[in-house]
Symmetry: C2
Subunit: 414 residues, 2 copies
């Protein structure tokens, strides 16, 4: 092989539950070494060990006390240590099996981001060092979830963003495939813990996966977006069991993908913020939501109803974790007048997803009827081209999911 | 105050036992804020929390197994996370008290080192960002113990080297003083846990402190060297108790410093390597020790005796932690022929230290007589201008130290 002819490169990612103790790290290291011996170039991204990220967050809250939110800049450097620990340990474990390997921090892997601490976006990847280490025959372990901004400060990409690191590395390196190894063995028609008859999908399209991203595999939606943009095939599979996973790709849909409804997505930690008596004029929605964007809070579903008295009610959902900060942001903004604002948690999103829905009528009616039969009350409704979402109470999720899984015949093996 | 006229700067260092949990970090943060309110510029170095460095080392050993030593490069990045955690938490705790602060990694603080992983030496400090953060009115928290080498890899300076970081920062910033806050309240005439009548010194010279560095305060010897070279006064004091500490400086000796013997230094984790039947020719000592230097192993006491048959016996001491690696390094080297090599642990160094000894006779005789009266067998002897050291069995340390403390009247308050 000439030095100019690069080996095919694969990028793997192992989640926190796959590297939660020394024994598991050694098992994953063996898998990595077996794969490396096939002659391919391997770049491996790891998440922080087990619950270590949560433990660091708890520590941060302990030192700042209940009244002050920890600085996001400091939090990013703090949380980035979790992935430094797991990536260096993985490199050591691989060494001990006789395979050359090197760990790189996000910074060393050339991952540059914007400066939005806590939810930074990857701006570019300078793969010079990555390529050099690969050319030297090393397995390269990259600390997931982190990068460096233009001030030289460490940033993190948000919870679950090691997936994003893996897909971005695969895109930058022109990798054959990105392989996400996790504690579930693929993407299911819906969460098997809620719907016992849920089935594993052999493949799924990027768009559908984007809508389903909160399913069992809990893949980070941004990583799917990135994979779709760069056409990176993504395999989701079990870290420890050698069974077929699910391939996420943008190729021709097979029979399975041609089903109208591919799956039921469930997202449980939803809170809504309702702003009542908002002055009804152009620019109101933007004025209310800009402070949330500035604070890095993602707004999901947005619903607005016009009422009779020249004012309107404006409701949107955020993750429950952001609920308090979102409420404060709306209260503090000066751009838009309103009568009152309230927040409520304990909600969930239940969605039916499928590209086949684009041209077919009646899916919404089937969905609402199935929920009504299961005695599930719908709080809000929102739709995209390939998805219909209902906001329901969290406790209604099992009834809703099972009703929909049956109504759309997802348990039927084709 | 004009922007050109800099505030006086103080560098503080807090050891791992002072920041071992959230409550202690909050208490130290309060102390730091009080000090910051006096208007001085503050740079604070912190060690890793409590036993976290030992826990990381144990994890590394767990993933590599008993037969392979973890890669020193990976170990350095792994261990550097301990100080990143404590420094970011300290910055957060200071924020929560209303004081602006920023944490910097060794790299961000401009600390460049050589590439000797595990025991790197600081090559230079680019204090541009440090000065900028100080000028912005921030307390700057610097992760101790770490730097960056020319390849862009993280290095660590060796156990206990957060002291070195602090002194080096003080030198680079032209600080008024470096303050080492720890779990003891100063430098004692000897270890008070071994000799109950040990007294705290109000001050001590750099040279004496260098010899005594393994005493109660366990200051890193390299940090004392650095302080002496740059003339940085170093205060060693209690992190939590507001009692006078010990000032280490190079000024005129006061009455206390003029005592012939200032203290008894004790270093317990000593192993000896004895190489027997070494060919007796020039270059032998260098040939035996070069492989240890290459492996980053510090050799302490060296004793060589010529025997009758044209060969010699060569004995040197290393820390017990390095004993196995040192033995292997001697065995593997090809430069020098010898008959056999053995190692033995469980030894300790007991030294009398004092600048006054330079011109006075009889200190050695007094020392050896005192040890003999206490029934302590001397294994090896070595001396410097201001120190006499005896290698004894570890279990003899209490008897030896108490006998010497009495013989040199160190318990007598002047």
């Amino acid at each position: 092989m000439s030095t100019n002819q690069r080996r095919p490169v694969f990028v793997q990612k192992y989640g926190g539950s796959s590297v939660s103790d020394a024994e598991k790290i050694r098992r994953i290291a063996q898998k990595i070494c077996q794969r490396a011996r096939t002659g391919v170039g391997l770049v491996v991204t790891v998440s922080a060990m087990g619950d270590s990220t949560d433990e660091l967050i708890a520590l941060a809250n302990d030192v700042t006390g209940p009244d002050v939110a920890p600085s996001l800049r400091e939090m990013d450097t703090l949380l980035s240590t979790g992935e430094l620990v797991s990536s260096t340990l993985m490199a050591m474990a691989i060494h001990s099996l006789g395979q050359d390997a090197v760990s790189l921090s996000g910074q060393q892997a050339g991952i540059r981001t914007d400066a939005m601490h806590g939810s930074a976006r990857i701006a570019s990847i300078d793969s010079e060092r990555l390529s050099r280490e690969l050319d030297a025959g090393r397995v390269v372990i990259v600390a997931g979830f982190q990068g460096l901004d233009d001030s030289g400060d460490v940033t993190t990409l948000g919870r679950g963003a090691s997936d994003t690191t893996a897909v971005a590395l695969a895109a930058a390196l022109g990798a054959e495939r990105c392989e996400i190894y996790t504690d579930v063995d693929g993407i299911y028609t819906t969460d098997p813990r809620i719907v016992p008859s849920a089935r594993k999908l052999r493949e799924i399209g990027y768009e559908e996966m984007l809508e389903m991203a909160s399913l069992g595999a809990k893949m980070n939606p941004r990583s799917i977006e990135l994979a779709a943009v760069y056409g990176v095939p993504v395999l989701v599979a079990s870290a420890f069991d050698d069974v077929p996973g699910t391939l996420i790709h943008g190729g021709e849909p097979t029979m399975e993908l041609r089903r109208a409804v591919t799956g039921i997505a469930i997202d449980k930690n939803v809170a809504k913020i309702t702003v009542r008596g908002v002055e009804d004029r152009p620019g109101v929605a933007g004025g209310l939501l800009q402070p949330l964007a500035d604070a890095g809070i993602s707004v999901d579903v947005i619903v607005q109803n016009t009422s009779d008295d020249g004012t309107t009610d404006f409701t949107f959902t955020v993750s429950e974790a952001d609920s308090r900060r979102a409420l404060e942001a709306v209260r503090k903004q000066q751009a838009v007048k309103f009568r009152d604002v309230t927040s409520g948690g304990g909600l969930a999103k239940v969605s039916i997803v499928g590209t086949g829905m684009q041209n077919g009528p009646g899916y919404a009616a089937t969905m609402f009827n199935a929920l009504a039969s299961a005695n599930v009350n719908i709080d809000m409704i929102t739709t995209s081209e390939i998805r219909i979402t209902c906001i329901v109470k969290s406790e209604s999720v099992p009834a809703a999911a099972n009703a929909l899984h049956g109504a759309f015949e997802l348990d039927r093996i084709e």
